[in-house]
């Protein structure tokens, strides 16, 4: 107990300021849907993540975005355990044939209104795996995708910035 208390004081606050580049161009859905999403989820967004065949690096960076340094939760964005609790589905990986049903079922299990975000180059178009006999490639051919976060893997700051720019996050603290 003493060690925990000591280390808590010694480390202090490690959370970083994340600079927002609002001019950043992001690949996303049409304006109408965007503003709707912003209106509904701008201050509280709950995300369910599904790995459809990624190598694990994207997952690692999503987890990093939740660590005390990047602390995604301070912006009202949470990762949830069940699709029933989720507003958005975050998909990584090139959609292995084996994951197609699970991906669709997860999406169907989410309550409306809902939208889909893809993360990482594989989820955009299959990436390095697009010519494989066992992948479907682009997630957007399977589900309606509202936003893509590019990178292989995208770093935690890119993940957070893209999400916040998309949600036009205003009161940055």
């Amino acid at each position: 107990m003493f060690d925990i208390f000591k280390n808590r004081l010694l480390k202090g606050v490690v959370t970083r300021h994340i600079p927002l580049e609002l001019s950043k161009e992001i690949e996303s859905c049409g304006l109408e849907l965007e503003s709707l999403i912003r209106k509904r989820f701008g201050r509280s967004l709950h995300i369910r993540e599904v790995d459809t065949g990624s190598c694990g690096a994207c997952e690692s960076e999503i987890i990093s975005a939740n660590n005390p340094i990047y602390d995604l939760q301070r912006f009202g964005i949470n990762f949830v355990a069940s699709p029933r609790h989720a507003d958005a589905l975050l998909v990584t990986g090139p959609v292995s044939k084996n994951m197609l049903i699970a991906l669709k079922k997860t999406y169907d299990a989410m309550p409306c209104p809902k939208f889909v975000i893809t993360l990482g180059d594989c989820a955009l178009d299959g990436g390095i795996f697009k010519d494989s006999y066992y992948t479907h490639g682009a997630v957007k051919d399977i589900l309606p995708v509202a936003l893509h976060i590019p990178g292989c893997p995208p770093s935690p700051s890119v993940i957070i910035q893209t999400l916040l720019v998309f949600l036009k996050f205003k009161d940055l603290k």
Binding site: D3, I4, N7, R8, K11, V14, E49, V50, D51, T52, G53, S54, C55, G56, A57, C58, E59, S60, E61, I62, I63, S64, N66, N67, P68, I69, F79, A81, S82, P83, G93, P94, S96, K97, N98, M99, L100, I101, A102, T106, C122, G127, I128, F129, D131, S132, Y133, Y134, T135, C152, P153, S155
Partner: protein, 525 residues
């Protein structure tokens, strides 16, 4: 080192042993071609002599040109620091071979893989269910690793049959493929009576992407990129094992400095993963502060990677023939200074964990994997060493590790605590090794070697943080990859997990799972 030592020892036990050919193309590989009829007996014999599990067992399609399939079975002869490859040719018209699985359980999954990917029958294997090509989505009769496979033909779909435990009061708990956390997909079928687990059958393959097929026909530089996408958390180990194989084929030996620098990156990869898993073990018993503390350390290592190489996960720096980055004195200083802070923080983390009685109570004796089980299943790497199987490729093969006085950690108890202790020991050892290695060079300039690949095959290997990562690569005369067989340690170790959880309660499964932390994508390929 007597290159014929292994042959003499086989002859000792089996006087009529008469190999078709014995080749030693590389000092660390001996390839023995034998008759198919003697395959099983000799494999079992080599298994006994070397006391090595089946490290690799795979097929090669040589029907074009030679109208045959080749089956290679690879053992590790750690005493001689060499790989023993037993090879047979089988006719292409009725492809089959004698199953090894009843004598060596570690061959079982490999045989299932050969069956599903090539349609070659391992005669006598009682379990030929498919692993990665799920029956529900992939029609029967399509074998993607055959050279003439283009598109899947229409065929029947089936349903996967789980092993069932039946009796009064037994019920099944299916979990996955989509899990509660931010993690890869896999399905786990628990059979429980009351609280304790009496059977766990993992069904994996959900992240199958056909990686081995993708390698075929690629040039070396493209293939390195694919190897970096096999398993994202051991990206550098995978690319290193691949480049090791192609460097062997082309006969290029990298400079000593490159070797040291690669070892530094390998150890950095080990460190960020070990600290990540230690944090994971803490959070899986609900001990959140040390877990957050561990993620701060992990982030520090990732940022250090970024500063040194421009990539948080050490991507795009390893090339066949060298490394594509400069590391000058300034960067070396950054490395050593960051290491000091990381080490201090890590010491605090360990102190917090060890001084918490409730934490120690949860990890002690949870998820025990016994030594005999680990040996039979062929559990390798960190999980194997935690159960008293003392195999670490760094000890046998890489001279630079021995020069640095590398110490291999081995634990006997095989529980979560043992795997935790292994990680703590290895983390500290990695820090020491990095210091040692970085004193061996002053100013590293990127090596620009263009490899000229000729026809050949070689086994590339490295000890990643989970265990040995193996790449068997064959190239054709113009240097394109003809076949690439990958074995990630997870492939061996998932079975170990399903035995380690027996008798534990389902709520302890995440803890046991995290203490192994196996790769889904490395297993499924």
């Amino acid at each position: 080192m007597d290159s014929r030592e292994i042959v003499a020892r086989i002859k000792d036990k089996l006087p009529e042993f008469n190999p078709i050919s014995i080749e030693r193309n590389f000092p660390d590989e001996v390839c023995i071609k034998i008759e198919p009829s003697a395959f099983k007996d000799i494999c079992v014999l080599v298994h006994e002599i070397t006391s090595s599990a089946v490290m690799m067992l795979f097929a090669i399609d040589e029907r074009v040109g030679a109208s045959k399939f080749v089956i290679n079975c690879v053992f590790l002869n750690s005493k001689n620091a060499e790989w023993v490859i037993l090879s047979i040719d089988i006719a292409s018209d009725n492809p089959c071979f004698d199953s090894l699985a009843k004598n060596m359980h570690s061959a079982s999954l490999f045989e299932r893989e050969i069956k599903e990917m090539f349609g070659i029958e391992p005669k006598g294997n009682p379990d030929l269910r498919r692993l990665n090509l799920h029956d529900e989505v992939w029609p029967q009769g399509n074998f993607p690793l055959l050279k003439d496979f283009k598109e899947p033909k229409e065929g029947n779909l089936n349903e996967y049959k789980f092993n069932r435990v039946e009796g009064t009061g037994i019920f099944e708990v299916p979990v996955g493929p989509v899990h509660a956390g931010i993690i890869g997909p896999g399905h786990f079928r628990f059979s429980v009576a009351g609280e304790p687990i009496i059977n766990l059958e993992p069904r994996l393959g959900f992240t199958h992407r056909g990686v081995e097929k993708l390698f075929e026909g690629k040039i070396c530089s493209e293939a390195v990129q694919i190897s970096e996408c096999v398993s994202g958390d051991s990206l550098f180990s995978h690319s290193l094992a691949f480049t090791c194989a192609v460097e062997k084929i082309s006969g290029v030996s990298v400079s000593e400095e490159t070797g040291y620098l690669r070892a530094i990156f390998l150890e950095l990869e080990r460190m960020y993963n070990h600290v990540n898993d230690i944090g994971g073990i803490a959070i899986d018993v609900g001990f959140s502060f040390p877990s957050a503390y561990a993620s701060v350390i992990k982030e520090a290592i990732l940022q250090l990677n970024d500063k040194l190489t421009g990539s948080r996960y050490l991507k795009n720096i390893n090339r066949a023939g060298g490394l594509s980055l400069d590391l000058d004195g300034v960067k070396k200083k950054i490395l050593l200074e960051a290491l000091k802070n990381i080490e201090n923080d890590f010491e605090e983390l360990v102190r917090m964990l060890y001084s918490s009685v409730s934490f120690m109570d949860r990890v002690d004796t949870a998820g025990v994997l016994r030594k005999k089980t680990a040996e039979d299943l062929g559990v390798v790497g960190l999980a194997g060493r935690a159960s008293g199987v003392p195999i670490d490729l760094r000890k046998y093969f890489f001279g630079l590790y021995n020069k640095a006085g590398f110490k291999m950690a081995v634990e006997e108890s095989g529980d979560v605590l043992a795997r935790l202790k292994m990680r703590i020991f290895e983390f500290n050892e990695s820090c020491r090794l990095i210091r040692e290695f970085s004193s061996k060079f002053t100013d590293f300039k990127k090596t620009d070697i263009s490899l000229s690949l000729k026809a050949g095959s070689a086994l590339g290997y490295t000890e990643g943080w989970r265990g040995p990562v193996l790449y068997w690569v064959r190239t054709d005369s113009s240097g394109f990859i003809e076949r690439c067989k990958i074995v990630d340690p997870s492939f061996h170790n998932w079975q170990g997990l399903s035995y380690a959880v027996l008798g534990n309660i389902i709520p302890d499964f995440p803890l046991c799972n995290k203490s192994f932390n196996l790769s889904y994508s490395g297993n499924d390929l």
